[in-house]
């Protein structure tokens, strides 16, 4: 038997495991585990060891668990299944932490059952379901995983995994049915409307939990019929997935399954049921109802939105000297889903925020309550203040502007929503900086201006065309001469004007990591001054963003010049303010800037990175291979979205990793940062002409 296929013995395994789990805080010996692994074939042993290593990178305890459960897992799962099992554990770790991950990994039975029965997973369907719900109603509903399906009227909670039905296809449909019924709860008055107070009804029953269970079942019956009026396809699918109603629900079905039944009818029926002792039957497609949570969230929303409408009204009333006529209460007209306000006999449109609020109120209450129509006290119209903003930029309590996935090459999978991205405003820097740089480089700047003016796209006349707006006299004379001479005359007798369009948008991504401190930073700033001069001449759309950060929860992007901003004093001040900050988590910056670049209408899109080294971040995780692989993946994603990338670096070791990141001939390594300002315009000219 050759060395590479021979089984590893327990002592060898123990050595390898000790190596992989060295960082483990537990002092458990790997001895017991290695004995378990000894029985496996070499290929399987290597598979387990590989994934132990991967898992231990996130959390050593998970690695330990993978090693311990590996033989059992492999006995029941194929290679892909084993991989999925470890990845599910790691995803749980990313999302909910170590305890959840261990619980998931230990529950091998549940995992195998789910996998064997081809369960559907919420993670796979989330985006699609989210858009489905948004399609059903204009008001966005968030989706989240929870143990039981329910809704608090702003978020629809669904189980992370569904395996109630035999095929994955049906389980996916079941997800859709559940989500639609929960949406229907928020849309069709389950939590009360102007006419019926559900909370008051429930206050009558001491067995609140049982009442809620019944309520959920009865509402599922009613809402299915209500849905059927507008969305017959969906209702038919729900009916197919649930199968026939249990016999003891038939009286309820007879009473509640009407397309125009309101929640009051359910409550009346519930009253009769609560007189008895029965428990409701289990329905796989009907979610639970958490009345407290729903009413709380709903009341907060109604208060918030009433306030928005009222504040909007107060400005409208004040507008145009209508203050005095305030005695006439305004009236709302609801037509075709739009809310218009008639104020002293005039139709007035609400501001968009208030319009959305009024429609949301309509969904919750079936009307815009009269108390909303009393304008708030004096004060300018201002929608509900939002979180965020510059002042608490570093407190850590702020909401990220976006979350981005990150590629983990060891897992060969994305870590979902892993990086928290913040756009941070740069404080204005020295207003005279750009002028000073200009003075120092007068000759170079003049040269750049001249050369780039030549490059600018102008209309061009093409002669000797088969058609065009004017006659090409030269061609005509030639043709006449040819004809006289008995030769065949050309038909290409026209001049056509063609536009030489420079449809290019360029994004410059500037490294603001700590290592740029000193002359690298100076070189970057000077280069940007040169670039702006060049690009202003050329007329290409361009933007400049700095990036830096400190771990995945604080990836900062500093707008220096956005696409729609002009190269003015503010932008000049921001160029001066670029300074060395923290680390270089590059993947997330590439992803964010790609998204911004993608929104540009230009035909060609270019992402140019100015950097002084390889991707890096605080802690060991992003350093080295991981960071390079994530950045490479981000650049690939950019390429798929039609963004071409290029890198200018002054890292002398750049030649080692840059070909892997950008591909050959897509980067430039400068040996001296001081050359950057002089070279950058030329580099851009090469790229963009």
């Amino acid at each position: 038997m050759s060395a590479s296929t021979r089984k590893l013995f327990a002592n060898e395994l123990e050595e390898r495991l000790d190596e992989l789990l060295f960082a483990s805080t537990s002092h458990r010996s790997a001895k017991g585990i290695s004995e378990g692994l000894e029985k496996l074939a070499r290929e399987q042993q290597e598979r387990v060891l590989h994934w132990v290593g991967v898992a231990a990178q996130s959390y050593a305890e998970i690695g330990y668990l993978v090693a311990a459960l590996g033989p059992r897992a492999l006995a029941r799962l194929d290679a892909a299944g084993f991989e999925a099992w470890v990845l599910a554990g790691l995803e749980a770790y990313d999302r909910e932490g170590g305890q959840a991950a261990m619980r998931l990994l230990r529950d091998l039975d549940a995992f195998c059952a789910a996998r064997a029965q081809s369960a559907a997973r919420l993670g796979d369907l989330e985006a699609r379901l989210g858009r489905f719900l948004q399609g059903l109603s204009g008001r966005p509903l968030a989706l989240a995983a929870a143990a039981t399906a329910h809704t608090d009227t702003e978020t629809v909670f669904l189980p992370a995994q569904l395996a109630a039905l035999p095929t994955a296809r049906d389980n996916r449909r079941l997800y859709r049915a559940m989500a639609a019924l929960l949406w229907a709860q928020t849309r069709h008055g389950t939590f009360g409307s102007a006419g019926s107070d559900v909370a008051a009804a429930f206050a009558r029953w001491p067995e609140r939990a049982r009442a809620q269970r019944w309520f959920a079942v009865l509402e599922a019956i009613r809402l299915e019929a209500v849905l059927g009026a507008e969305l017959p396809g969906l209702a038919a699918e729900i009916a197919r997935l649930r199968g026939p109603w249990p016999a003891r629900l038939l009286p309820a079905v007879a009473r509640l399954a009407h397309p125009d039944a309101a929640v009051s009818r359910t409550l009346t029926f519930l009253e009769e049921i609560m007189a008895g002792e029965d428990e409701p039957p289990q329905l796989p497609h009907a979610g639970a109802i958490d009345l407290e949570a729903a009413l709380r969230v709903r009341a907060a929303r109604i208060a918030r939105e009433s306030e928005t409408v009222r504040r909007a009204l107060s400005t409208l009333k004040g507008f145009g000297g209508r203050q005095g006529a305030g005695e006439d209460a305004p009236a709302l007209n609801v037509e075709g889903g739009r809310v218009a306000l008639s104020l002293d006999g005039e139709i007035v449109a609400l501001p968009p925020e208030a319009q959305a609020a009024a429609q949301s109120l309509l969904q919750d209450l079936g009307e815009v309550p009269p108390e909303c129509l009393v304008p708030a006290g004096p004060g300018a119209w201002q929608p509900t203040p939002r979180q965020g903003g510059g002042e608490d930029a570093l407190t850590g309590h702020r909401q990220p502007h976006a979350r981005y996935d990150e590629w983990d090459y060891r897992r060969r999978a994305y870590r979902r929503g892993w990086c928290h991205l913040f756009e941070v405003e740069l404080p204005p820097g020295d207003p005279g900086y750009v002028a000073k740089v200009g003075l120092r480089n007068t000759a170079a700047i003049r040269d750049i201006r001249r050369r780039f003016e030549l490059l600018r796209g102008e209309d061009r006349l093409l002669g000797r065309q088969p058609e065009g707006e004017e006659i090409d006299l030269d061609a005509l004379v030639d043709a006449a001469a040819d004809r006289r001479a008995g030769a065949e005359a050309s038909g290409r007798l026209y001049v056509r004007r063609v536009r030489r369009e420079r449809s290019l948008a360029a994004m410059f991504m500037v490294d603001m990591s700590g290592s740029t401190q000193g002359w690298v930073n100076d070189a970057e700033r000077e280069s940007l001054v040169m670039l702006c001069e060049a690009l202003e001449r050329l007329g290409d759309a361009y933007a400049i963003y700095g990036f830096s950060g400190w771990t995945r929860t604080r990836c900062d992007i500093y707008p220096v010049k956005r696409f729609d901003e002009r190269y003015d004093a503010t932008v000049r001040g921001r160029i001066a303010a670029i300074e060395a900050k923290d680390y270089t988590r590059m993947g997330v910056a590439v992803r964010h800037l790609t998204r911004l670049l993608e929104a540009q209408p230009a035909r060609h899109k270019l992402l140019v990175t100015l950097s002084d080294g390889r991707p890096d971040d605080f802690g060991d995780e992003y350093r080295g291979h991981y960071g390079i692989e994530d950045t490479r993946r981000a650049l690939q994603e950019a390429h798929e979205r039609g963004v071409r990338s290029y890198c200018v670096t002054i890292d002398r070791h750049g030649a080692d990793y840059l070909p892997r990141l950008y591909g050959p001939a897509r980067y430039t390594v400068l040996d001296d940062a001081r050359k950057l300002p002089l070279k950058i315009a030329d580099i851009y000219r090469r790229l963009a002409s």
């Binding site: 489905f132 399609g135 396809g233 699918e237 065009g468 707006e469 004017e470 006659i471 007798l493 209408p601």
Partner: protein
Amino acid sequence: MKFPTSLAPELARIEREPYYQPVGDEVALFESAQRRRLPVLLKGPTGCGKTRFVEYMAWRLQRPLVTVACHDDLTTADLVGRYLIVGNETVWVDGPLAAAVRAGAICYLDEIVEARKDTTVVIHPLADNRRLLAIDKRGELVAAPDDFMLVISYNPGYQSVLKEIKPSTRQRFVALEFDYPEATIEAGIVAQEGSVDAETARRLVKLGELTRNLKGAGLDEGASTRLLVHAAQLIADGVEPATACTAAIARALSDDPEMTGTLDDLVHAVF
């Protein structure tokens, strides 16, 4: 052999009444503008009936209609005309705009923002009280007869800054705003144009509404009335409704597999 020194395109009149369902006072406004010789700007999303409205008005006013679909290489010569060479002579050929002006027709420039910026300038003197078309190559100024009417359209839904209409152009026009009609009217249109029963039409309109909710959430535009009519026509031809909607609506709206998945879900929710 004798050559004509000028060629003029034939202008056709619309013989049969095009189907058009008025939604507001647009017919009266258009007729007023025509009487007062004011140019008209139609704005609204794609497929909401702008072109059909112009056809209907041309029929109603008994004027020939010249339609030009503007594109980004449309030049002034494409509108006004050019010299062609026939044998040893140059012959002037009127472009569609010049032909319409001479004939006192309705000239409809569809999606005007798509045309090159310089072309919009030739319509300026036509669109104010001068009502003149300058043909510089011939040194000719053509005064528009009273019957001539200029109509342009554009879709304000495009987010691109390049596709905005200049204020100097837009401020010459009477603007009529179009949108997808209200559900019952739209259902009537879909039933009539697509020859389907009222219930099918109602469901198609519902589907249209659901897709319009996704505008801005992955879709640039929801399903237009035109798409709904297409789906209806397929259904009337015997195609199974869900299949017809998938082909005529879901696939027509998006290429993104994620998004078409969602659209399929919506189709199946309605059918």
